[in-house]
């Protein structure tokens, strides 16, 4: 056997060289990692050992003005999944878990995919689960690797759905919110206020997150707590709301809608009411119907529930109709036309209008009618208000038109119509005071419709046409008539205090001063008083011991039944509160809404009263 020694020696040398080169590559890489980049890696290693887990702060409490708790927190059990522990067993564990939780596998998977970016941080899969589910999961822990439970503070509503539109609901932060500046320090899965006070004052209610520094191993198993910075609960808010008034307002509103329906207005299904302090704008009650239960949002609302809350057939219960919707105010606007007419000397206190039931000033081709077809006969401005005579206000509106001025619109703006009131609630509607500029831009594609017609002004004068107001704007404007000197900023939060009630801070709310001649005010107030004593609301207030001044309204809406309004303040001689009630497709303002206002005032002033069962009003 020959030895191929020469050949093998050459190749051995090549092997040696390969080995040498391979080992040099390893060594130079090690030199780079361990000597050159040491600083970077030692820092990474130190951070690695310590995980910072943020603990969520309980949201602040919300009280009414007498410190009754409207929103508090309660401990609830959430089911979480730690992605790392689940890895590789998804298809085995998730269907079982979905069945136990009554969720869809798809939903859980999406949740995990979205929020499970940190494999060691548990992702909340379902909030507020029952004790039975917890017991089951604990018993069968081996079948659910990575599945755990977590105690969280969730919102609790002692009065269930009372004041839902004021308080608003909470929910997990959305992608859109997350990308906005306001929520820059939030992370996925955290809870934020979505509407109402919860949203408007989210920055106060949220508190400051705590930080727990925990030494953990790679499985996420905590070994010891190195540092525990406790979360600071959010600020507590004291609202201007009075729970008792709120309860009465919601009840009265619901009864008014029911009554309207019984009286033949079958489409009456929605409405709202608001009670305001005429001097400082504090809101005592704010009711909107239909309503919803903010408690359903605590567990995370399902798609079908959400859909139901946003359907036409359910009348959009999430909408706060006092603030987030605008309507034609109808005759409740007439006092402002009167103030404008009197102040601009279009009409005097002694001027006699003559109402035949038909008004043809704009030409025989365009006759307008008074709601009282037989006519009111001779009426002055005070009687015009108390009997809601349309002809009186047609005249005033037409006079403004012939002037080519927009003084009527200016007066409407002066009382706050057409711009937000500044209430501390999100997405307030600003309404609309129609004028030439608006019409031009509104019909920018149709030059014929851009022309401002006499009819536009005449309709505006009786609160119809293109005028839109929010019930809150109307309440604020009536406050101005009542106090005579200012437009208050309506608001819901009275004061803010830290969680331990040590620091209390009152929120100041600006007022806008207004200047109306006292003789004008006197006339309009007289008219409003007479609405209740002898005018369109006399039936609703018969036998009422408190002096109330107000105005009914029956607004025409194309394709729908009339919208019923009642706006009033009391007591008449030194007004304290304004009440506005509106019922969509509820018919005449002097019937159900006026009764509802009477019930609310009864509670506000603590008087005993026998409210008339059924009142019929035919005015507009």
């Amino acid at each position: 056997m020959t030895r191929p020694i020469e050949k093998i020696q050459l190749r051995a040398a090549i092997f040696g060289l390969i080995t040498f080169v391979a080992f040099m590559i390893i060594l130079s890489r090690l030199w780079f990692l361990q000597v050159l980049a040491y600083g970077k890696y030692i820092e990474l290693a130190n951070n690695n050992r310590i995980r910072v887990i943020s603990t969520s702060a309980p949201r602040g409490l919300i009280y009414d003005r007498n410190r009754n708790v409207l929103v508090r927190n309660r401990p609830s059990i959430s089911v979480t999944i730690t992605p790392l522990s689940l890895r590789g067993k998804e298809n085995e564990v998730l269907p079982k878990l979905a069945k136990v939780l009554g969720e869809e596998v798809k939903v859980i998977k999406e949740n995990l995919k979205k929020k499970g970016t940190d494999p060691l941080r548990p992702v909340v899969i379902k909030r507020d689960v029952s004790k039975e589910i917890v017991a089951y999961l604990k018993e069968h822990q081996a079948d659910f690797p990575g599945v755990d439970i977590e105690i969280e503070a969730v919102r609790d509503y002692p009065y269930t759905n009372l004041a839902a539109h004021i308080l608003g609901y909470i929910g997990e932060i959305s992608d859109k919110e997350l990308s906005s500046e306001e929520f820059s320090d939030y992370s996925l899965g955290e809870i934020v206020g979505k509407t109402g006070i919860e949203s408007e004052y989210n920055y106060l209610l949220r508190g400051a997150k705590g930080e727990k520094k925990i030494e953990v191993n790679a499985v996420g198993h905590p070994l010891r707590v190195l540092e525990d910075k406790e979360a600071i609960p959010g600020y507590n808010l004291k609202l201007t709301i009075n729970v008792k008034t709120q309860i009465i307002a919601e009840e009265a509103l619901w009864e008014a809608i029911e009554t309207a329906r019984r009286q033949g207005y079958k489409n009456a299904a929605a409405g709202c009411a608001v009670v305001l302090d005429v001097n400082n704008g504090e809101i005592y009650a704010l009711a909107s119907y239909p309503t919803y239960d903010p408690g359903t949002f605590v567990r995370g609302i399902s798609t079908s529930e959400w859909k139901k809350l946003n359907e036409k057939s359910s009348n959009f219960p999430l909408i706060n109709r006092v603030v987030n919707a605008s309507y034609a105010p109808g005759s409740t606007f007439k006092p402002f036309t009167a103030i404008a007419g009197l102040s601009e000397k279009k009409v005097s206190s002694t001027f006699k209008f003559f109402c035949t039931g038909k008004w043809t000033e704009m030409g025989e081709k365009w006759p307008k009618r008074c709601w009282e077809r037989s006519g009111h006969g001779q009426v002055n401005i005070v009687e015009g208000i108390s009997h809601s005579c349309d002809v009186v206000f047609y005249e005033i509106g037409y006079k403004f038109y012939k002037d080519k001025s927009e003084k009527l619109q200016e007066w409407a703006h002066y009382f706050g119509f057409g711009s937000p009131t500044g209430i501390d609630l999100p997405s307030e509607k600003e309404g609309r005071v129609p004028d030439k500029a608006w019409k031009k831009s509104f019909f920018r594609r149709d030059s014929k419709s851009q022309i401002w017609l006499p009819g536009d002004n005449v309709n505006l004068a009786i609160g119809q046409g293109d005028l839109l107001v929010t019930p809150l704007q109307l309440a604020v404007a009536y406050s101005a008539i009542a106090n005579g000197n200012s437009i208050p900023t309506p608001h819901l939060v009275k004061s803010v205090s830290s969680y331990n009630e040590q620091v209390e801070r009152k929120l100041n709310t600006p007022k806008k001063s207004i200047n109306i001649s006292s003789s004008v005010l006197k006339l309009v107030r007289e008219g409003l008083r007479k609405v209740v004593t002898e005018g369109t609301a006399r039936n609703a207030f018969s036998g009422f011991s408190l002096a109330v001044s107000g105005k009914t309204g029956t607004a025409e809406v194309k394709g729908k039944d009339d919208f019923a309004w009642f706006a009033c303040y009391a007591p008449s001689d030194s007004p304290r509160y304004v009440v506005v009630v509106m019922i969509e497709q509820g018919g005449h303002g002097g019937s159900c809404p006026a009764i509802a206002a009477r019930k609310i005032l009864t509670q506000m002033f603590g008087i005993s009263d026998r409210v008339p069962e059924i009142v019929t009003d035919v005015s507009r």
Binding site: I8, G16, L33, Q34, K40, L44, N48
Partner: protein, 364 residues
Amino acid sequence: MDVIKIIRKVDFGLLVTVFLLLCFGVLMVYSATLSEAKEGASYLTRQLIWILLGVVVLVVAALFDYNWLKHYSFVFYLLSVILLLVVVFVGRWVLGAQRWIPIGPFQFQPSEFSKIFLILFLASYLSDKEGGLKNKDFIYIFTLMALPILLVFAQPDLGTSLVLIAILFGMIFAAGATPKQILTVFLIGLTLCFFVFHFKLLEEYQIRRFLAFLYPDLDPLGAGYSLTQAKIAVGSGGFLGKGLFRGTQTNLQFIPFHHTDFIFAVVGEELGFLGALILIGLFFALIMRGVRIATLSKNMFGSLIVVGIVFMWLFQIFVNIGMNIGLMPITGIPLPFISYGGSSMIVHLIAVGLLLSVYARRFI
């Protein structure tokens, strides 16, 4: 036979190197498993039992005349194929792969043993091709080797099948294949790899690991997790290391498989660059010792056995350390003599025994 004659037959340099490597390994396994309070001791004792068993097999292999094995080359081939087939039928699923055959309380990993059997088979076949390799020899060799390689690959054990390929290339080169022939085979191999990827023959996790190697920052907590954590461990060790038993990455279990595939990260973290240098120095000595024995062997069969073994070591060392420091994708190849694991330990000690056998018979 006097004492001097016996002593001249033993390669003490190799023995000392292996002994030091084993000591190093035992220490590291102990340190790596320290945090697993209950099992820590059992890892250590188990590893010591494997070493003891391995040393017995080593002595047997060293005393045995390796030339005798030449007659059974095809038996080894069949044996390895049968073993690998058995895995498919009775293998126990561990970590998504069928690599173990249970024998009593222990598990036995045939793919580790198949490496030695195939080295013996290849050495025997190639040693007869004195005048250089012809094309038909290539076809014969590659066709026969494709079966066990694919069986290992299908377990799926990408790492070991790569080791087999490395051994194959190393041995045909040593047996006299020209660079041109090697290159041709290599190109054919690349084409095959393309098909493997194209028809998705790789497990999803293998592709993920490969991608994680190329772009570790893409998914630092998913597939790139092990890689990133191992790199952090090694880098944070610095020049002198954090000290034995003091590796935070190790003890806090940030590194998965820290006593097997990622044991080098423990070395890097706790003993630093210096410790890694010592380990790599020992490996270098081991390989050089092997290369020397290959040149000293009295016949081609012995040389080729040694070349196969040396190539196996070199490849495993480079790929394993490489994946610990982010040079190589994660393939799950243990570090010879250091990683915890019975089959691997016994196989590498048999290999040392074969080297000693070749060395001892260099004059006869």
